[in-house]
């Protein structure tokens, strides 16, 4: 069993990753696909005249300010990308089935009652951000779908305790899903070759890291890579044997990752 997190970032269409996924499945491997929707949400938000807003956390993470209106757009954008990935896989002969974390209570998340945001040096408390962390995955549902010959394609939002949709980080949702499914490997694709010692110099790719080195390696990670390194740690802690941070831009991105190209964490 392999879990593949497809990047939602700009310019990376799902075609290359889907071709590899199709090959893996036709070779008998079981795959669960997870994706986000950050780029798609921004373009849809612009189209709807509701420009996206972002929050920077005190430790420097940037994420979407998901109030009720932004959540509606976020949900639509994720579903639209989900439908596109499902169709791409189906056209490659994979019996793909899309689900959001809300469906069947797949990803049950805990909403943070308040988040801190830094804006021009001023830190404030924000209470209407619909963000959270996935706490539980319905692995039985995924096994039932895999048993029915389906390839699950999963996306945010997750569902909170009040049955409300929550924006969750897709990399970390992929990590907890990989753990819950006892996946052997989690591949996280993005638009860089892996964790770079000196971003953006791609020659400084770190080929492998042990779990113990991970916490210090986070300092090297820039922008969205930070959360991917954290997600990798969470996956390893949840029992996944290997996590590979790999490059989504090249041909055969997943086959390369499984062959060890990128940053391998084990």
């Amino acid at each position: 069993m392999i879990v593949v997190k497809i990047g939602g970032a700009e310019g990376i269409g799902p075609q290359l990753a889907c071709e590899d996924i199709a090959r893996l499945i036709h070779a008998g491997e079981r795959v669960v696909v997870v994706h986000g929707g950050s780029h798609d949400t921004n373009t849809l938000a612009e189209r709807l005249g509701v420009p996206p807003r972002f929050i920077t956390s005190p430790s420097g993470h940037t994420s979407r300010y998901t109030d009720a209106r932004a959540m509606e757009i976020f949900e639509m954008a994720c579903r639209r990308l989900n439908a596109r990935i499902v169709r791409t896989l189906r056209a490659l002969g994979v019996d793909a089935l899309g689900l959001s974390g809300v469906d069947g209570g797949l990803w049950k998340a805990r909403r943070k009652p308040a988040v801190r945001a830094v804006d021009n040096g001023v830190t404030t408390i924000i209470r209407d951000d619909h963000s959270g962390t996935v706490e539980r995955v319905d692995a039985d549902l995924l096994h039932a779908l895999l048993g029915a010959g389906k390839t699950p394609v999963l996306c945010p939002p997750a569902i909170g305790h009040e049955h409300e949709p929550l924006n969750v980080d897709a990399d970390r949702a992929a990590a907890i899903t990989a753990g819950a499914m006892r996946a052997h490997t989690l591949v996280i694709l993005s638009n860089v070759p892996g964790l770079l010692r000196a971003f953006p110099d791609e020659a400084t790719l770190i080929p492998s890291l042990a779990r113990v080195e991970l916490d210090s390696a986070i300092e090297l990670a820039q922008g969205r890579m930070k959360r991917k390194v954290i997600a990798a740690g969470e996956a390893l802690d949840a029992g996944v044997h290997r996590v590979v941070l790999a490059d989504a831009r090249r041909e055969h991105p997943i086959e390369r990752a499984l062959a060890g190209q990128g940053t391998v964490l084990a």
Partner: protein, 65 residues
């Protein structure tokens, strides 16, 4: 929650934890986080006129998509 009079020159409020008077160099934003210079408690500006302070909620780092 502690309240205080907003004098024209300086903006002050009382720390709900230790009672010290906190002076603001500029009008704070609603929900802004300030640290009490005396006891170091993290406080949230819950109202502006008058400036009202409360202990800031503990919040663990997290992010969405």
């Amino acid at each position: 929650m502690s309240q205080t009079a907003t004098t024209t020159e300086t903006l002050t409020a009382t720390c709900p934890e230790c009672g010290a008077t906190i002076t603001f160099s500029r009008p704070p934003r609603r929900h802004e986080i300030v640290r009490c210079p005396d006891c170091g408690a993290e406080l949230e500006v819950t109202a502006l006129s008058p400036i009202t302070l409360a202990l800031a909620p503990e919040v663990e780092e997290d992010w969405g998509e």
